[in-house]
Amino acid sequence: MPAAPSLLKGTLDVLVLKALAREPMHGFEITVWIEAHSEGFLAVDDGALYQALHRMEARSLVRAEWGITDNNRRARYYSMTPEGRRHLRRAAADLVRYAHAVVAILAEGR
């Protein structure tokens, strides 16, 4: 059962940056990577992904360049900029703290 889209809303940028942390990817690869690494729990909406990519491009967190895929098609590859890397570090730390806080609250409630 995939997560509700609303849960993804605030974390999509971090997930995309995390996907790009290792190597440049095109949009479809990013969605596959997130889905695979979350064992199918996080299914990224394709439209939302491109909006996030455009937004991060405007903030210079990612940059895009045309490349050639294995099956010889032109695709637009996104890579993380140094600014994106700094942003990922900060946002990931915040998100981990946030997750711990949420877990702690939920545990208290039991």
Partner: protein, 906 residues
């Protein structure tokens, strides 16, 4: 063929940005959609279901215009467009800066040209703004009106209290009005000083819309005089100087002209009366009885505040009607006018704003503003010429850019960036020049010189000392810079990019382009010569006028004379004791080392005017029109000798012409000609309505005309009364010296203090300085116009030189062929110089015609010179011709030095 990216970047070709981004997005989404469909097919979905699901996940099943991905792409598109345009501007500016740096001589000349043009304009505009445009510092200044009495021939007079009352009662359009009069008064104390005060009616501050900083305003009962209680509103400066800013000053007293006046308030620091100089305001009702009880006296100025909504036409009509009523009730003198004549007298109301500066200053400034505008025009023409020349030398580069697809708009923008950058640098440099110019104007200050002559004190807050390089002036500079940069960059840019691609690349095309640019440049030079000639003609006329003015005989000699003013507080000495005082004073001053003669008078020459009144003739029927107005001067008998004023006929004052003896007067030649045209005035009886001479006196002599008004005014009828027979309490002491007159001033000041310790001693100036002041305004205009004309001429010479040089370079090959065919070097020189002469000739003809039309506006500023003075025009044409010879000579020599073989090889 698609050019490599590097080439496109090099020549800055436009990328089709919008379509490019959309195409890229579509391609990217198509790839994504295909990948998603393939994934879904692998998971076992049918092709239709896979496609629908992929579309749903992309959000593309809805209208594309509402598709969030497309909307975000659109935002990206806008961001990129903005960033690209900024990048484009930055790159254009960088490119322009590199281009300018490569040609430092061109850049320097262009920047200096603009800096001079804009800087001079800004400085003069600052003066125009301060003196003519800036809002007067009073509440709703547009409602404030200056009202004057007008005689049948348009001569203006001040008001008496009684006429004012009739006028006020008959007026319905004013919410308030007040009389005011600025006079010098003696402020007693440890350091007695002579300072300006204003006598005002009670509604003065209320009319102007000014409040007091401390205390309270005058009450309406202050107008109940004469001889009402003495009260004063003092200036902030006086409060600080005399009362050490004592917060409890209200209720204390200040001694003014011998009277203790109760201080009822302190004026705001920024307000010193309409004169801008008053140290105190005193109610007219506290003055002596004469000023309020003599309806024929002419003393006060009148300011009124119109009710909201009243038009200038209504104010004018009512002023005329109410002014006539005032004269009906109180004729000019108590027994001289018939009712029919009285009806011709009237009053005129005009905006206070229009009288804020002396008319001569207003006219001068407007003329200078027009002149400096022409300088700017010439500067811009020169800049356009320079840019045209530069564009012509870059035609090959422009051709290549057009060939590889650069749009004309893009190239125009690139060329415009250069002119705007030049204008910006010139604008910055111009601010420095303007700052310097503003200081020069403050230093020259013709209004101050006029004020020193007693002419047009103007309205406070609108004098030359108020000139500032303020935001308005800087805004003006910015606007002028922008216009200059855009307009005079745009014309050459459009010219340079107009021809087709092949025109640029083919030799013949290049020739046609050069010819077109050359024709434009020649037209600009003609305009430049014409404008310079107009300015030269204007400045030539002003200089000639100044020369005539300096040559005017003022009627006295000014060398080795020091003038000092002093005054008694009223009533300090009885009239009987004044003659004795005069003698003691003269004797004491005569003992000062270096002083060879001492004389006294009540008013110095070239004072902008002195005291005057009506003169009548007992042996003639009373004349009701063209009343005999005459200046009245109290002088010591030796005054004429001290100033070398000649006796024309009759005799001078003698020791016997003393109190109790029959009253005698001297008149000047102008009075003799005007009032005794067909008879000998010597021995004639006259009545002069001042100094007790209205009982009658005898004319004993005629002396030379002395100019008491301005140096450029005609000599007016004057009469002289001996200080032996009538006395005044304000004196001008004339010291003739054998040494530098300024060097005796300290000793003279001490001598006066010994004789009259309570008297203020002030306005110490040499007579030469007074004469200098008399021509200050003319010198101001002539000097600035001459500077502008010189700059204009220099710019015109540069323009002609530039065009001639350019022409020689363009025609090098042709000149080489001519010389190879046997043309003499002299004929080549002649050919080039003839071209210059042709341009100058056409420009000269246009310029002379324009100057003849435009210099008419100078008529009122000229003295004894006609606006079409042939000698001036001949001189100006000669100067322009000489300038053209100089500007053409160097290029002509260069043309003649062309080696035919090299020219043919090039």
């Amino acid at each position: 063929m698609r050019l490599p990216r590097g080439v496109r970047r090099l020549f800055r070709l436009d990328v089709r940005r919008k379509e490019f981004i959309r195409d890229a997005l579509d391609e990217e989404l198509r790839f994504h959609l295909d990948a998603r469909i393939a994934q879904l097919l692998d998971r076992g979905l049918s092709p239709t279901a896979a496609r629908d699901e992929a579309m749903r996940r992309l959000g593309s099943s809805v209208d594309p215009s509402h598709n969030p991905v497309h909307r975000s792409a659109q935002r990206k598109e806008q961001r990129m467009a903005f960033r690209e345009s900024i990048d484009g501007v930055i790159q254009d500016v960088r490119y322009a800066a590199r281009g300018l740096a490569k040609r430092p001589a061109f850049t320097l000349v262009a920047v200096m040209t603009l800096a001079i043009g804009i800087g001079a304009n800004t400085a003069i505009f600052s003066a125009v703004n301060a003196v003519l445009l800036r809002t007067l510092p009073y509440r709703d200044p547009a409602q404030l009106t200056d009202i004057v009495l007008t005689a049948p021939k348009g001569v203006e007079f001040p008001w008496s209290w009684q006429k004012f009352e009739v006028f006020r009662d008959a007026s319905r359009n004013y919410s308030s009005m007040a009389l005011h009069l600025t006079q010098q008064a003696t402020l007693s104390g440890p350091n007695p000083e002579r300072a300006p005060i204003e006598w005002v009616s009670a509604a003065y501050l209320h009319t102007l819309g000014v409040g007091v900083a401390m205390g309270h305003d005058f009450d309406a009962d202050e107008d109940a005089g004469p001889n009402a209680p003495k009260r004063a509103l003092i200036s902030d400066a006086l409060w600080q100087r005399r009362f050490s800013a004592d917060p409890a000053v209200v209720g204390k007293t200040v001694r003014i002209d011998g009277d203790d006046c109760e201080v009822i308030g302190v004026l705001p620091p920024t307000f010193r009366g309409l004169s801008g100089t008053a140290e105190a305001l005193l109610p007219i009702g506290a003055g002596d009885s004469a000023s309020m009880t003599q309806p024929w006296s002419l003393e006060y100025d009148l300011v009124g505040r119109l009710k909201p909504g009243v038009t200038a036409a209504q104010a004018t009509a009512e002023a005329a009607r109410a002014g006539t009523l005032a004269f009906d009730r109180y004729p000019f003198t108590k027994d001289m006018l018939t009712t029919a004549d009285a009806a011709k007298w009237s009053a005129t109301a005009r905006s206070l704003n229009s009288v804020r500066a002396a008319p001569v200053v207003q006219r001068s400034l407007l003329v200078l503003f027009a002149a400096v505008g022409m300088v700017l025009l010439i500067a811009c023409v020169n800049l356009a010429n320079l840019l045209l020349g530069r564009a012509a030398t870059r035609r090959q580069e422009i051709g290549v850019r057009l060939a590889i697809g650069a749009g004309r708009g893009r190239l125009v923008r690139l060329l415009l960036a250069e002119s705007l950058l030049l204008a910006a640098i010139g604008g910055v440099a111009s601010v420095t020049l303007a700052w310097w110019g503003v200081h020069l104007l403050q230093h020259l200050n013709p209004a101050d010189a006029l004020q020193a002559q007693g002419i047009g004190p103007g309205i406070a807050g609108s004098g030359f000392d108020a000139i500032r390089l303020d935001p308005v002036a800087l805004g003006f500079t910015f606007a002028v810079t922008l216009v200059a940069g855009v307009w005079f960059g745009l014309v050459p840019a459009l010219q340079a990019t107009r021809p087709s691609l092949t025109d640029h690349l083919r030799d013949s095309g290049a020739g046609r382009m050069s010819a077109r640019l050359g024709a434009t440049r020649r037209a600009l030079v003609i305009a430049e010569v014409a404008l310079a000639l107009v300015l030269l003609a204007g400045s030539g006329l002003m200089l000639r006028s100044l020369g005539r003015l300096m040559a005017v005989n003022p009627g006295f000699t000014s060398d080795h004379i020091l003038t000092i003013r002093t005054a008694f507080p009223p009533g300090a000495l009885s009239p009987d004791s004044l003659p004795g005082f005069y003698e003691r004073l003269q004797a004491r001053l005569a003992a000062v080392p270096g002083v060879t003669g001492v004389a006294l008078a009540d008013c110095p020459p070239l004072n902008g005017g002195c005291n005057g009144t009506i003169m009548t003739f007992p042996d003639r029927p009373q004349s009701v029109t063209g009343n005999a107005m005459i200046g009245v001067h109290w002088v010591s008998p030796n005054w004429f000798g001290a100033l070398h004023v000649p006796l024309i006929r009759g005799r001078m004052f003698a020791p016997g012409d003393a109190a109790g003896a029959p009253r005698v007067v001297l008149i000047n030649e102008a009075a003799a000609k005007q009032y005794f045209p067909h008879e000998d005035p010597i021995g004639k009886a006259v009545k002069i309505y001042q100094g007790g001479f209205d009982k009658g006196a005898t004319v004993i002599g005629i002396v030379g005309d002395v100019r008491f008004g301005t140096i450029d005014s005609v000599a007016r009828p004057d009469s002289y009364i001996s200080t032996g027979q009538s006395h005044v309490e304000r004196l001008v002491i004339f010291l003739r010296t054998s040494v530098d007159p300024a060097s005796v001033s300290s000793a003279a000041r001490r001598a006066i203090a010994e004789i009259a310790p309570g008297n203020p001693v002030y306005d110490i100036r040499t007579m030469a300085a007074r004469v200098g002041n008399a021509t200050a305004q003319a010198r101001f205009s002539a000097l600035l116009l001459a500077i502008f004309a010189a700059v204009a001429l220099a710019l015109a010479v540069m323009g002609i030189y530039g065009v001639m040089s350019f022409g020689v370079v363009q025609r090098t090959r042709e000149i080489g062929i001519r010389m190879a065919l046997g043309a003499e070097r002299g004929s080549v020189v002649g050919m080039v110089m003839a071209e210059g002469a042709r341009l100058a000739g056409v420009g000269g003809v246009i310029g002379v015609a324009a100057a003849l039309a435009l210099t008419r506006v100078l008529r009122s500023l000229l003295y004894d010179v006609a606006p079409s003075d042939p000698a001036t025009y001949a001189g100006v044409v000669l100067v322009v011709a000489a300038a053209v010879v100089v500007a053409s000579w160097i290029p002509a020599r260069r043309a003649a030095s062309v080696e035919p073989t090299e020219a043919l090889r090039s």
